[in-house]
Symmetry: C2
Subunit: 199 residues, 2 copies
DNA sequence: ATATTAAGTCCGCAACTGTTGACTTTTTTC
DNA sequence: GAAAAAAGTCAACAGTTGCGGACTTAATAT
């Protein structure tokens, strides 16, 4: 058995993981390939060798992060609670199902090089899978409204660090989010469903 | 009266306006000072002369965009409808009251150079003014939840260009947003307020 | 009309970016 | 063990970026 100091697959993975961590905390433009390589403990040139370009590395990260974040067997009724839970959880940790993908999408959504890539990734891999679980007419629209809430929560909590959303007792916030998501996902878009019987 | 081809105040304003337009469409890092100067029809060096640095130019843009976007005399009850209206309107045009500020904040929130600046601008100039209009206990938290929705709407519509939110008949979407904002702003954070009499 | 000051332009520096090619070292294969 | 291929390192290129100093042009004041 040879001592393997050189392992292509391993360093490729290390590079990918380092990139994932970086893209999770900074925008596409603010992540330098030299930083990523330093984190992975290898040289910058390996990025070019294994991924071709920075953009393809980003694409791979996006594709590899939380690929099956949505439990296939979650029912439409359980969806609001499920999503509210995801929105609140720190995102730290090894959790396989998380909204990390949303964060990466969000951070690099305003970079010309990645905007289109990120846009289609959001629609195809995030929005539509949820919309497919919804019964009724305007499934896509209702899912979009729901993700409005989830995206906003990620923005205010993780990116802007708004204290009221971080401090307030988690259970109360989670309950409120669940309520809002129920209204967004399960009630018809335009209707008198009359959630609030107020003026 | 001398023909004035050189006017300090005017070019400073032109520079500011050009920067505003750029920062509205791209992130802090992706806006080049040379582009801004070209749009304003002057030389790059003027940016340094009038604003000192790119960061201070950005600060000024942020401070000058929609300074009094919130009508001082809007009541708490009218707030949901008011905000829903703002979230939907295109943002194009001369509208003095708009959520352009949110968009600028959002685009540059992930740039190390501007993240802190943008964070305090959001809390002090956007979140707290709304929170101050709210009666009751958890005003800050409720305002934060509401801005979750507004931020998310801006993200999905303007940055990600999600079609379902752009196409669906505006009035239906606006009504839904108003409903959600009412729930977020006016109902107690944790409570049985029972907006939805469902399981 | 001339001198003075403000307004604007041109040029270049220094740092950083992604990317590529030549080179060295390790691993595998025969 | 030698040869071939893979894995990794180093250095440099070409393009930007923000920024600052030297210079020129226009407006003002005397």
């Amino acid at each position: 058995m040879t001592k393997r100091q050189k392992n292509a697959a391993a360093t490729r993975e290390a590079l990918l993981e380092a990139a994932r961590r970086r893209f999770l905390e900074e925008s596409y433009d603010n992540v330098g390939l030299r930083d990523v390589a330093k984190d992975a403990g290898v040289d910058v040139a390996l990025v070019g060798r294994y991924f071709g370009s920075k953009e393809e590395l980003f694409r791979e990260v996006l594709r590899g992060t939380c690929p099956h974040w949505l439990d296939a067997d979650v029912t439409a009724e359980a969806l609001p609670a499920f999503l509210a839970r995801l929105a609140i959880e720190a995102g730290e940790g090894d959790t396989q199902e998380s909204l990390d993908r949303l964060l990466i999408i969000l951070r690099s959504a305003s970079s010309p090089a990645t905007s289109e890539l990120v846009r289609t990734a959001f629609v195809e891999d995030v929005l539509e899978p949820v919309a497919r679980l919804l019964p009724g007419e305007d499934a896509q629209s209702r899912a979009a409204v729901a993700f409005t809430i989830l995206m906003g929560t990620k923005v205010l909590r993780t990116i802007l660090g708004v204290q009221p959303l971080l401090q307030c007792q988690a259970c109360a916030l989670e309950a409120k989010l669940e309520l809002l998501l129920t209204e967004a996902l399960l009630k018809p878009l335009s209707g008198d469903s009359g959630a609030t019987g107020e003026s």
